[in-house]
């Protein structure tokens, strides 16, 4: 399966989706002008991955900041992951970032996937 490897920019996150090496990560800042357009290839990739996933998938979110339009798309990403067996979300937040911690908790209440919380 193709690898998605996008460098982060000042308004888009770094994204690494690599089935072979079992690395799935979205990190950095997400405030693109058109969040639906930005996330569509990610959603397509996850849906394709779901056809033949690894036995276990640990998906990392390590976001510094995201805007509200991105939050809707992050929920779409989580909903796509919800369809796949044995997925765990690793939600990272900066140790003094209560808002990012709370955002992770809220997402965890909206989907049926186990979340692990870590600070960085």
């Amino acid at each position: 399966m193709e690898i998605i490897n996008l460098e982060g920019t000042e308004d888009t996150p770094k994204i690494l989706l690599d089935k072979g090496n079992g690395i799935f990560e979205i990190s950095g800042r997400s405030l693109p002008e058109d969040s639906a357009e930005f996330y569509q290839p990610i959603l397509d990739w996850i849906n394709a991955y779901g056809e033949d996933p690894n036995p276990e998938t640990s998906f990392v979110f390590k976001l510094e900041y995201f805007n509200t339009a991105s939050s809707k798309l992050i929920l779409d990403v989580l909903s796509a992951l919800e369809e796949i067996d044995n997925v765990t979300i690793n939600w990272y937040f900066h140790e003094d970032d209560e808002d990012m911690e709370e955002a992770g908790e809220e997402f965890s209440e909206l989907v049926e996937i186990p979340f692990e919380f870590n600070t960085y």
């Binding site: 000042e10 308004d11 002008e33 339009a69 939050s71 809707k72 970032d97 808002d99 809220e106 909206l110």
Partner: protein, 170 residues
């Protein structure tokens, strides 16, 4: 006496590129003042929602009248707070629905805002402008303060809508 400083005032065309520049300048300014990262993130958050609101709605108005496209963004700092204000022209229908929406948000406590956020994110689809309908709720949640707003009559069915969010530093 409280001292009040303007960090940045911008008036004119709003685009994603300008949003990024404004954010970078305000961020550098807060960095140079040694602001705490938790406060910086909240201010950044509120700035993004304000700026992207203006970008999304900047083509709603009569393109023949440049005056009506004039939007404004201000960030100021007092001893104990940051104040973020944005303003843009809206028509009467938009003014009425904005008033209802912000009053509803201001009537909610922390738990009420959290519930509203979750209800909207679960059920709403992105608008054709790419908005999630979450911006004001998020500004109220991140700031922990009521949103202040004003509508100034511009004539010919237009109002200048301004919204101010306060982020306390302590």
């Amino acid at each position: 006496m409280l001292s009040r400083n303007l960090i940045l005032v911008y008036e004119g065309e709003f685009t994603q590129e300008i949003t990024k520049s404004v954010l970078a300048m305000a961020e550098r300014n807060m960095d140079s003042m040694g602001e705490e990262s938790s406060i910086k993130r909240k201010v950044f958050n509120v700035m993004v929602e304000c700026l992207q609101n203006i970008v999304k709605h900047s083509d709603d108005f009569n393109p023949l009248s440049a005056k009506r496209n004039a939007a404004i963004f201000i960030i100021g700092k007092e001893d104990d707070r940051y104040v973020v204000t944005s303003g843009n022209p809206v028509d009467t229908d938009a003014a009425n629905s904005l008033k209802i929406r912000i009053d509803e948000i201001n009537g909610l406590d922390k738990e009420g805002l959290k519930k509203m956020y979750k209800d909207i994110i679960k059920t709403n689809h992105l608008s054709n402008k790419g908005g999630a309908g979450l911006g004001f709720v998020d500004m109220a949640r991140k700031s922990g303060q009521k949103l202040e707003y004003d509508f100034e009559d511009m004539g010919e069915g237009f109002h200048f809508f301004s919204i101010t969010t306060t982020i306390l530093r302590f």
